[in-house]
């Protein structure tokens, strides 16, 4: 009985407190980023202004007036949206084939796909830069979209595969018996049934694309540069301007935090789906 009582007490008070502590620890960097973005560059590094300072919007005004924030933001939206759409366009038929018509090699193919995520990106940096430049695709939206799509494709296929495996095979077979061709099976049966899973996958893929920095910084200069490039561009030889940098970073992570906030239920469901299963 004593054990049960202890567990109940922990469940009632301990668990929520622990959850809040963990949440605050994770939230603190975002809070500090936004907090610092309202300081001047000078205040940002002064210990006496660590907590008390005169808030200013200069960093944000400066960012939109001098750094062309909206162009970078537009590029981020374009590349992330198209990369996600293309990743789904390739991933859905691929995951469908592996979930409903598996061969002996399916598991190996899935592992191979995941193994490409284990490859250090730096190992292919120079070939990639060289190739994109030589075929004239360096700093183009097309190149960024293709790269973002390809690096996220393994995760997209894995997630979709897990969702599709949840759908009873008989339902797909019933579709075949009802006179549906392969495209019809995907359009009429698979997509409506796995809609929640596809939405979670798309959301996660979009977030990954938006946050991607390694390739978008290195394969762009101005034309297709995304918000990651804008943040990276705020480094100056004289040092880091923390106020400005915080404002740019806050403006870069802001949209994705808001999106994540509104879609958190869908996202959590999507991420824990396989684990619960």
């Amino acid at each position: 009985m004593a054990i049960v009582a202890n567990q109940t007490r922990f469940g009632t008070y301990g668990r929520p407190v622990l959850a809040w502590v963990v949440a605050l620890i994770f939230f603190f960097p975002i809070f500090w980023l936004v907090f610092t973005s309202f300081k001047t560059d000078a205040d940002a590094v002064k210990p006496e202004h660590l907590l008390f300072f005169t808030p200013t919007l200069d960093n944000y005004l400066n960012m939109t007036e001098n750094y062309d924030y909206w162009r970078f933001a537009t590029n981020s939206v374009i590349t992330s949206v198209f990369a996600t759409v293309f990743a789904l366009a390739v991933g859905i038929p691929c995951a469908y084939a592996m979930a409903f018509n598996p061969s002996r090699a399916t598991k190996d193919v899935l592992m191979w796909m995941l193994s490409t995520k284990m490859l250090p990106a730096a190992a292919v940096l120079y070939p990639m830069t060289f190739i994109t430049k030589s075929i004239g695709l360096f700093d183009t939206h097309f190149m960024v979209i293709v790269v973002l799509m390809l690096i996220n494709l393994p995760i997209v296929i894995w997630m979709l595969f897990t969702y599709f495996k949840e759908i009873p095979k008989e339902i797909i077979e019933a579709g075949q018996m009802d006179g549906v061709n392969t495209w019809g099976e995907i359009k009429e049966i698979l997509i409506p049934l796995a809609w929640g899973g596809i939405a979670s996958t798309a959301l996660l893929c979009f977030i990954f694309c938006w946050n991607e920095a390694y390739w978008t910084v290195r394969l762009t200069t101005t034309e297709a540069a995304t918000l990651s490039k804008l943040i990276e561009g705020n480094r100056a030889p004289e040092g880091l301007f923390f106020g400005r940098l915080s404002a740019v970073s806050a403006a870069a992570v802001g949209p994705i935090v808001v999106l994540g906030w509104f879609c958190q239920k869908q996202l959590v469901q999507g991420l824990t789906f396989g684990a619960v299963k």
Partner: protein
């Protein structure tokens, strides 16, 4: 039309051959039942006909046309699955309309067929519900409705009643049989329940380990089982198979006698035994008897109420004219 022919069809999964070369002909309008124990290959055989599994070799012919390489959607067959396999995101109306929509049928024609199917299957009040809001029996009716509206050349049923409770199963069994009598369309029905096979079929195909043990009408199989397997599988309760001295007296390795063909008495008879369990059903009494040489326990069916209980001594007399004789290979001796 809906004549289905399997010509030397085989199926292997990797190295394992689950269907050795098999020939079978199902006539147009026939109600054929594939029956056998779990894992005997009956569902695989049905899926080969449907096209949901590829044959390893051999041909599948529907109305003399080789459809071995034709996709399931083009074979003109309808299938009802054990798990119903309804589209959970669609209403009953949309589920039934789905195959017609895929075939490009006009809206008016679809609506007329939905109405007719819903009326014949008592689904009219449920057309706007989703499958999740229906009972098991109603779901199975929707699955049948979806199969009917295609006007298929043959219906394939894969253990469609297994997920229903006993009472509902009997009702649905009658409905499907009646539907066959009305439509006169070829039906192939897979079940492991020999009672379903006996009550529904024009032709029963008994399978074991992918091999056809016997094909025939229900009463053919009941009266003239070709081997011990069929003898033991068809009939409820099972046929008593007796080996040893009693069989040798009849010039056979094994003799079989059905429970209803043995007379039971508390005073006299050919064999003597002790009652193990007596199942009193009212209309019949099934008595399981120990101590009969070569067959333990022996089951006997007595008409009406037969008052015995555990430990009582009883006497049994088989109707020798209705004995089945089998040789050492288990094959029937005429």
């Amino acid at each position: 039309m809906g004549q289905i022919v399997l010509d030397k069809v085989t199926k292997s999964f990797g190295e394992t051959q689950v269907i050795p070369p098999l020939d079978l002909k199902i006539e147009d309008g026939e109600f054929a039942v594939f029956v056998g124990p779990s894992g005997c290959g009956k569902s695989t055989l049905l899926r080969l006909i449907a096209g949901l599994e590829d044959t390893t070799s051999g041909k599948v012919l529907i109305d003399d046309e080789d459809v071995t390489q034709v996709s399931p959607s083009k074979r003109g067959l309808s299938m009802v699955f054990q798990t119903y396999a309804l589209y959970p995101h669609m209403t009953v109306r949309k589920n039934i309309a789905f195959p017609m929509r895929m075939a490009g049928m006009s809206e008016q024609e679809q609506e007329a067929k939905i109405k007719a199917a819903a009326e014949s299957l008592n689904l009219t009040d449920y057309l706007d519900r989703k499958p999740g809001q229906l009972s098991g029996g109603q779901r199975q009716r929707v699955a049948i409705g979806r199969a009917i509206v295609r006007d298929p050349s043959a219906f394939l049923f894969d253990e469609p009643l297994s997920n229903l409770d006993a009472a509902l199963r009997v009702g649905m069994r009658l409905e499907i049989t009646e539907m066959h009598k009305r439509m006169q369309t070829t039906m192939i029905y897979v079940t492991h329940d020999q009672v379903e096979a006996m009550t529904m079929a024009d032709k029963i195909v008994v399978l074991q380990a992918g091999v056809i043990e016997q094909v025939g009408s229900p009463l053919d199989l009941y009266h003239r089982p070709q081997n011990k397997f069929v003898a033991g599988f068809i009939g409820s309760p099972k046929m008593n198979l007796i080996e040893g001295v009693e069989a040798e007296k009849q010039g056979a390795h094994t003799i079989g006698i059905r429970p209803e063909h043995v007379e039971i008495s508390t005073t006299e008879g050919l064999w003597q035994g002790t009652v193990g369990v007596a199942e009193h059903l009212g209309s019949d009494t099934f008595v399981h008897i120990h101590g009969v040489p070569g067959c333990d326990p022996m089951t006997v069916r007595a008409a009406g109420e037969f008052s015995v209980s555990h430990g009582d001594t009883v006497y049994l007399t088989p109707n020798l004219a209705l004995l089945h004789k089998f040789d050492d290979k288990g094959l029937r001796i005429e």
